[in-house]
Amino acid sequence: MNALSPTSAVASRALSLPLIAAGLLLFLIIIASLLYGAGPISASEAFMVLAGSGSEEARFVVSELRLPRTIIGLVTGLALGLAGALLQSMTRNPLAEPGLLGVSAGSGFAVALAILFGASTATLTSFVAQLGALAGCALVIAATRVQGLGNDPVRLILAGATLTGLLLALTSMLMLMDQRAADEIRFWITGSIAGKPLSMLQATLPSILAALILIVIVARPLAAMALGEKAAVGLGHHPGRIRFLIVLTVALLVGSATALAGPLIFVGLVVPFIARAFAGPDIRKTLWLCVPVGPAVVLAADVVSRLIAAPAELPLGVVTALIGAPVLLAIVRAGRMPSL
């Protein structure tokens, strides 16, 4: 049985419209990402390349620089959006976001350590990033199990912010220790999808595929858990096992995304927020909608980061923070937290 299949025809109709709209939007943003850049290649020149002609230089820029960047942005957005939706649904906390909770920072610190010790192969870095994300996730879960904290979204977020601050300070220490490593870490830690090798993508692809399969497995039990732990047990699910699988999935997704793009804050908050607004409380629909929305958000932010300061570029992490923080404020401003 396909766990992700909508339960009724009504539900599928309700979801299909936003899904198509988001897909179209994503398509437009992909085109924009290929057409617009900070460099001297104009949009019309880039369009010629897409149409099959164009100058040598334009062809190089579009196919060697912008295309890999766009693909990496797609994968990063997909991973972070899904990870945010899963984490929020599991902790029942609309503010639970991998970046805010310190999962990304854990991953980032692990990679900084690896770089300091001389790791440079893409495989090793993505594996290390996933290990770090797993450790960060484990801390978050441990924190939510602490009595009372699970019901207090803000305290959890503050704990995450503190953990992030601590890990950032430790990373800065590492950077002071070794100048060569510092340059490499600084390049990577601001969060950017520019100039990343496609080999990194190959290294993370297996984990992302594994995570997608895991999502298909856990989606249905997770929806049952939204009814309450007892109801989920009554329906024949094992909440402990499901929670473990979700933690594993989130770690795989966030680790891969961090290895690809560096720690990007707020993407995992914005994407599920948008998706939930259209898909309603059902986590399965939200997850479906996150598939086009996640890449669209990251790519849109990336296009903005190229255009806003042209001919220079802003780090992508800065743009996502500028977009995401107001969303955080909006969620809090909404008064009562949307119940999950």
Binding site: L314, P315, L329, V332, R333
Partner: protein, 329 residues
């Protein structure tokens, strides 16, 4: 009248602070034995020692002392106003906003007095926005804090934008603000901070009775004759002033505003707002943290903001994760 326990606490903190100051003056790349430090401070030491102690180290220690005291007092004040010990300027994003504005002035204008004024403006803006977003609850309630986290994130991003857009020299000049360090202090900023701290402390002592009543419910405070609104606004303005001036000297050194009042409250008599003890504890923390940063991996210097983050974060985590019936937010 200060009671016995408070006097005892304050004097022991003062002794600790003096110890930290003298150790900080004596240690470094050139070791000066503590007796010589005292001699140099009195003005009768050999020129070499006098130069190291009075010219190189003293200004740094004074800057640390003043900024630590200011941050801690601002933290203590804001915690009292919000009736929430997590409501410190760092967590509410005031630090980051002040930093963003100070960086803007270093990167853009470059006047020597400008960072103080700009940091103040930034601190005031952040507080105003956090207030506006917090809605009717004012500083009480969790919205204020989450709004602050958001504002802090935006201000941090803006700082990065500015640093990435300017020439590398200007970026390097502004960099210390972003992590919190005593390296980039300018004499003017320290002077302004000293004046602001003295004025702020005097005013706080005058309204300390009213501040003490803020710990009770509003009705009780009013019954005791406190003008609630005026006290709140004045207190908030003072904590913004102290934070802004301190940030213009040392950058966003986190967690001192949380840890120092925490310590002060533990050792002072309950029921009073331990402003003096907080200031002394904050100054001690800052001087000690800077000493650690300078000497731990010498000749490598670790910015003081990194030290306080590494030492302070585990404690904050412990506060947050500790199961307790007392609501924090």
């Amino acid at each position: 009248m200060p009671d016995k326990r408070t006097t005892l606490a304050n004097s022991s903190l003062l002794v600790l602070l003096l110890l930290a100051v003298i150790t900080s003056l004596s240690m470094g790349t050139v070791q000066v034995p503590p007796p010589d430090v005292l001699q140099a401070l009195m003005g009768n030491a050999d020129p070499m020692t006098a130069f190291v102690v009075n010219e190189l180290r003293l200004s740094r220690v004074v800057a640390g002392l003043l900024s630590g005291a200011a941050l801690a007092m601002a933290g203590c004040l804001m915690q009292t106003l919000a009736r929430n010990r997590l409501a410190t300027p760092g967590i509410i994003g005031i630090d980051n906003a002040a930093t963003a504005f100070a960086v803007a002035s270093v990167v853009g204008v470059g006047l020597s007095l400008a960072p103080s004024a700009m940091a103040l403006a930034g601190a005031a803006c952040a507080t105003a926005i956090a207030f506006g977003l917090a809605g009717a609850n004012g500083t009480r309630g969790y919205r204020f804090i989450v709004a602050g986290i958001g504002i802090g994130a935006i201000a941090g991003a803006v700082t990065q934008v500015m640093l990435s857009r300017v020439a590398i020299d200007a970026a390097n000049a502004a960099y210390p603000w972003t992590v919190g360090s005593l390296n980039a202090r300018s004499g003017n900023s320290v002077l302004v901070l000293a004046i602001g701290l003295a004025a702020g402390y005097a005013i706080l002592m005058l309204i300390s009775r009213a501040l003490n009543t803020l710990q009770f419910s509003d009705a009780v405070a009013i019954a005791l004759g406190t003008r609630l609104k005026a006290t709140r606004i004045l207190g908030l303005a003072l904590s913004v002033l102290l934070t802004g001036l301190a940030v213009s000297v040392c950058g966003p050194v986190g967690l001192i505003a949380l840890l120092a009042p925490e310590l002060a409250r533990t050792i002072c008599r309950p029921g009073k707002v331990p402003l003096t003890a907080s200031a002394l504890a904050g100054a001690t923390f800052m001087v000690a943290a800077d000493l650690l940063g300078r000497t731990l991996f010498s000749p490598l210097e670790i910015p003081v903001g990194i030290i306080t983050a590494i030492v302070g974060s585990p404690y904050l985590l412990w506060i947050l994760l500790k199961p307790s019936r007392r609501s924090l937010t």
